[in-house]
Assembly symmetry: C2
DNA sequence: GATTGGCACTCGATTCCGTGGAGTGCCAAC
DNA sequence: GTTGGCACTCCACGGAATCGAGTGCCAATC
């Protein structure tokens, strides 16, 4: 069927173009790939593909180059999932298994991902919002200072030091501590925020108003939990791979370098990534930023027990090895999720 | 005196070259700067400067460009310290005063520094080695889990969770806690490390050997303190400024991008920075890495009470505005030091 | 002795062909 | 629907010509 062949031609064009970075012509195509037809036939197919907007020529009498739409079709229908080699699998596990804590896991992941894909890797720290409060601890650092430690189910630990306005006796501290624990332990962040705010305003259940210390502690906890810095934290790695962009420098690398430092922007770029094994691919102008119309994003969610706590992925030129990249992103996400499962 | 004039010529060459990024010729020089001599005279001076190795021509019949040696002389003898404008001063203080904790100070500093200098900024987190232990807290997270929190005089807080091998009763925990506190509170990191190792091997002063829990806690504390990740932590900002490098891309930007991710390399690059107000400038090949022979580093130490706890600075092309950059680096370091003083 | 104007010379950058070749589109034949 | 053939297009590449900024040197001048 000729429809099938046309798709095969598109696939071949994408593969060749990704491999060589040069517009691919009809003759080279039939030589390098075993399509059993002549170059003239391929030319006809290419004309159709061009009409339909999947490929384009940089100028008359040059070969064809895939358009965003072409890449899209390639990714959606033409990609055969290529499994990671066992060597790669082993590399992933040995690399990630050495991690000592959550931060370390994230940092190793970026590194690993950027090396596997030779692209810029981005890993979001697990978001607070879906996690629950495992423990809160209040530690006295003298009569006027209090260390507030917040431990979340993801393993994230936040701490703040509070300068108390008044003094706080040991018994009062113990009381406050157990009060706070009763209020928030096991709750999700969202629930805890509500409960804490109520506590800060209404005071304890027995009817007494909240003490000054209570208000301060509540304040700092609320602050910790809602601090968007936490939601917005991401790790970036492999920026050196940008040097391979070659030409199209100011047009592509510059805005990307800028984006890499704006973590909020980065997160928006990563986007809402499909949960559970599904890898999202955003190609060129499909993304939210015009300046990045020649970059693609390959991302997926990760987290313990199949729930997607955070996102991880890579950013690269639209002209990239999608199958390989998608496989790497998926493999790393899976492995990281498994690690979080165990913790 | 002609010697003086030659230096003036060198200064003019450096300034023009930095401003225009083009080799500067004798005619343009006398026009733009008010040296009261003819271009022929300047040519003679330039010939001498070239003989002495301060300037060079990219090719015959082109203008002159400063050599590393020329920049060096410029920085050492020809730079008049240009004070920051009051607007800039105000920007610095408003920008940094909003910081909520140590990490925040560091992160704001990189950002600020990169914006002021339009270069890549690097700020080292205050090193552990010279700081002292302010407090250690052990928090039980159930019978088998223990949270170990380490608080340092710099305000840095490190925490780790320990999976205990055996159970630990509350009284035992309290005992262990006070033992550890007696051992390390107030000590420098170096002292604390020694004392802890002794504790882990010999056990408590009363002659009993160390309990299993003690060994584990000691281990994790030692680990926290000696973990070189802490010494090696740096924040980087303004990488987008690399896009301004224009040409000389693979030769300069690539290795630099790589270095920016290798924090150990970065620290070596920043080097041992002069304490107290002194700004160190490392020009081109004076630095430790060959690949970075066309980049310069401007850095200085900072820290509370005049002692230099850590280093901060910028990395940029040898062709940069040294006076302005040095002023910015010094100003930021001073301001950050003042903030640390207060804390 | 230092400075200056003048002048010949050098050499990269830019422009302008001319050419080669890859690639296309179309058409007639199968 | 496929194929071989063919005329056509247009970029990339290389060489020649030109331009001009900048130099080095020298004789004249202060």
């Amino acid at each position: 069927m000729q429809e099938d062949r046309r798709l095969a031609v598109l696939r071949a064009i994408v593969e060749d173009y990704v491999a060589t970075d040069e517009p691919v012509g009809s003759k080279a195509l039939v030589e390098r790939h075993g399509l059993g037809v002549s170059s003239a036939t391929v030319r006809n197919d290419m004309a159709v593909l061009e009409d339909e907007g999947y490929i384009t020529q940089p100028h008359t009498s040059a070969g064809r180059v895939p358009t965003d739409k072409g890449y899209r079709l390639f990714v959606d229908r033409l990609t055969t999932v290529k499994p990671m080699s066992t060597a790669e699998r082993r590399a992933i596990s040995t690399f990630l298994d050495g991690a000592v804590d959550l931060d370390d896991v994230v940092q190793r992941s970026v590194r690993l991902l950027s090396q596997l894909t030779r692209q810029v890797a981005v890993v979001q720290y697990p978001t607070l919002s879906r996690s629950t409060v495992r423990h809160v601890e209040l530690v006295s650092l003298g009569a006027h200072r209090l260390l507030v430690v917040l431990i979340l189910s993801t393993g994230r630990v936040e701490q703040r030091v509070v300068e108390l306005e008044g003094e706080l006796a040991d018994e009062e501290l113990a009381e406050l501590r157990s009060l706070v624990l009763r209020t928030v332990t096991g709750a999700t962040i969202a629930e805890a925020l509500v409960a804490l705010r109520a506590l800060g305003e209404a005071g304890e259940p027995d009817g007494r108003g909240p003490s000054a210390a209570t208000v301060q502690v509540v304040e700092v906890l609320v602050d910790s939990m809602s601090d968007h810095r936490n939601d917005a934290r991401v790790a970036v790695g492999g920026a050196a791979n940008l040097a391979r962009y070659g030409d199209s420098f100011d047009s592509a690398v510059r805005p990307l370098l800028e984006a890499l430092e704006e973590h909020v922007v980065l997160l928006k770029l990563l986007g809402e990534s499909g949960t559970g094994g599904l890898v999202t691919v955003r190609i060129g102008a499909e993304g939210p930023y015009e300046e990045l119309s020649s970059t693609s994003v390959v991302s997926t969610g990760y987290g313990p027990r199949e729930e997607s706590l955070a996102t991880l992925g890579i950013v690269g030129p639209t002209r990239m090895d999608y199958p390989g990249t998608m496989a790497a992103v998926r493999a790393v996400a899976r492995y990281v999720s498994r690690i979080l499962d165990e913790a």
